[in-house]
Symmetry: C2
Subunit: 406 residues, 2 copies
């Protein structure tokens, strides 16, 4: 059993790096608060006897030796960056529970057969730089390191500049650290476990993701003197697109979601009809055929709206992550650990994307979920109980021990 | 007849203060470019022999003596501020045509019975500070000077600070300069004159305006893991409001318009359902009963949408300007001048608000319109012909001469 109080304390200790008045965390990837939590994490890893290294995209690896160092380690971890108005648990729980597993094994003097390696992946959230989970995507070869290093945030700062700015561009080429398998603990970020009073979600799959960058070009004109029929209003166009995305997602019932999260009017003024808007779209399904339908239906709706309103709409797919099916043997291992520890559990699909979803394309991978309050995440009010976080960390530890061998 | 080439040259000379690459002008009220054009205007007035003074809200007055100085002057003018992506004619034409009238009278050695006074009103556009036409509104007593001085722009800078910043907070209390009557020349900013091949619009009325500040509070949440039915999406809510405003305005046919010009998502992120949005509404009609209906219908639609989507929507009316009916005698004077000069003309309603609409509540006032290309205004592509601008300036001069007496 892990040390519940110690885990809880570290969660709250690190929540001060970027802590917000509403009790959330604003710790955008590679910003000053991310540097603070990284420095803290590096020290904590070193104090726990881990050998720490940082790769060329800033992901941090802490290796705990095993009896047989010829074996690749079992990986565990998550991320320490947050959304602009994020919570204390998203990513943090999985990373600090990985640290807690190491601390518990140290205290109990337990040596594993294979080494184990805890990880803090760079930019899981994807709100400062796109795509989300970019470092683990580069790790599995979905993108080159140079491609990712050149991605820019809204202010035009590249990943490379941001890494150098906080001193976290490591020496090790991406992919240097090998893994035999990987396990990630995370809050569910959805309402199912809580509603069904289950402590552990045994994650067997994950939704695929489509991200688009959109731009609407209508025509700026006077809000008072331009008759309604002559308008080419970019905001009215966006409004139809937002509602179309909503109804397309609803059409697929619980099997799809669709969101416009960002929309910026160029040169806005109260008495000017908006002429240009940049926006982004996020839509998802765990079913590849439905993902194709979402793409097709969205493009058709946008084309119809644009033609009818005589405006130009560009919609560029900037990221496509297929649905994830986690490794059946590892999923079983997670389920066995939950059963053995006596925690109520169920199989579940992840609504969110995770580094584990990327790693799974190359390495046997699985995930452990615990409930979060009202299913709320990406919100400063995100919350989870100490008991559930402890249960999740215990399942993580026992899964890792089963994989690494004692 | 005014000097057509000289008028055209001054319009293009001043267009360099805040000139944009697309051929428009960005000269936000009381900003550095506004200071440049004000300095230019003051010098030009002084060179034309006018006695210049500035009032406590920065409006600039240039007095040309008449034979009978016991008579209050006939006022003429407009404004030199622009929209963020504005054109070269909106406001500028009326102000520089007023200067051109003085120059022409000087050249011809014409003395008027009553004095005449040319004006550059502060913040007609209303995009940096609300409401629009704020200085003329204070002039007629709709707001106190202190109220207006305390209005803030988006960066929290007050009108008082902005005036001090460019050295245009004058000594004269607002209202010091009296007028017997006022005439404003402006581009139509709508498509009617051009469509009907008329050179002069004899403006007999103007739309009333309702301005609202809105705020939507939904709930931020994860774009991937929050099921569609559980969402309280602020952007989807705004989208319904935008389309409701559009259909309410359309319902009243050509007699109403409605626009959402500004909308800002708080802490936007690609994978976060928008939780909070600030927006503004501008809706108008020349019919007071329709204005009441617009307000009623908009509030009802917003209430229904908010309740159905379980979000909170605040809608505060921040400005209400009733429809304008210009002074019949002055309207006749404009029409007579247009007829005498042989310009094709028609009576017209102003879709836009103008300082003349405020002044009309206290002083006999009228307006002269000239066509603009495709009816486009509040756009960098705004355009008008030299011939039409010249015609408008001639009608302005002959109306003023008729009112002031020769
Ligand atoms: N777990 C999580 O919130 N990831 C962020 C990436 C996404 O799914 O949008
Ligand atoms: N004439 C003009 O564009 N005025 C700006 C105020 C408004 O009507 O919105």
């Amino acid at each position: 059993q892990i040390d519940s109080a110690r885990l809880w304390d570290t969660i709250h200790e690190t929540a001060k790096f970027g802590g917000t008045p509403k009790g959330g965390v604003r710790r955008l990837t590679l910003g000053p608060e991310d540097k603070q939590v990284r420095d803290w994490f590096r020290k904590a890893c070193e104090a726990a006897g881990l050998e720490v290294h940082v790769d060329a995209l800033g992901s941090m690896f802490g290796l705990r030796k095993g009896r047989d160092m010829s074996k690749p380690p079992v990986g565990l971890g998550s991320h320490l960056d947050t959304q602009p108005t994020g919570g204390k648990f998203d990513g943090v729980l999985g990373t600090l529970a990985a640290l807690e597993v190491v601390r518990t094994l140290n205290d109990a003097g337990i040596e594993t057969e294979a080494p184990i390696c805890i990880v803090n992946w760079t930019n899981e959230e994807g709100s400062r730089f796109a795509p989300a989970m970019m470092a683990s995507a580069a790790y599995v070869g979905d993108f080159t390191t140079d491609d990712i290093l050149s991605r820019k945030d809204a202010d035009g700062i590249t990943v490379a500049e941001a890494l150098d700015g906080i001193g976290y561009r490591g020496e090790a080429p991406v992919g240097t650290q090998k893994f035999a398998s990987f396990v990630e603990l995370h809050i569910e970020q959805g309402p199912i476990l809580e509603a069904e009073h289950k402590t552990i979600g045994v994650v067997d799959s994950g939704q695929g993701v489509l991200w688009y960058d959109g731009k609407i070009t209508g025509f700026e004109s006077h809000a008072g003197s331009t008759p309604m029929p002559l308008r080419r209003d970019a905001l009215a166009t966006l409004s139809e697109i937002v509602l179309a995305m909503e109804s397309i997602a609803r059409k697929h019932g619980p099997k799809a979601v669709g969101t416009i999260g960002e929309a910026v009017i160029a040169n806005p003024s109260r008495n000017v009809i908006p002429g240009e808007i940049a926006f982004t779209v996020d839509c998802r399904s765990a079913d590849a055929a439905i993902m194709d339908a979402l793409d097709r239906d969205l493009r058709a709706a946008v084309a119809e709206i644009a033609a009818r309103r005589k405006v130009d709409v560009k919609l560029d797919l900037v990221w496509r992550k297929p649905p994830t099916h986690f490794d059946p043997k590892l999923v079983d291992a997670v389920e066995n650990a939950a059963q053995a520890l006596g925690y109520s559990n169920r199989r579940i699909t992840s609504g969110a994307g995770h580094d584990a979803c990327n790693l799974n394309t190359r390495i046997p991978t699985a995930m452990v979920f615990v409930p979060c309050k009202d299913g709320v995440s990406h919100n400063e009010l995100e919350d989870a109980t100490q008991a559930d976080c402890t249960a999740g960390a215990n399942v993580l530890m026992h899964t890792v021990l089963a994989l690494a061998g004692v």
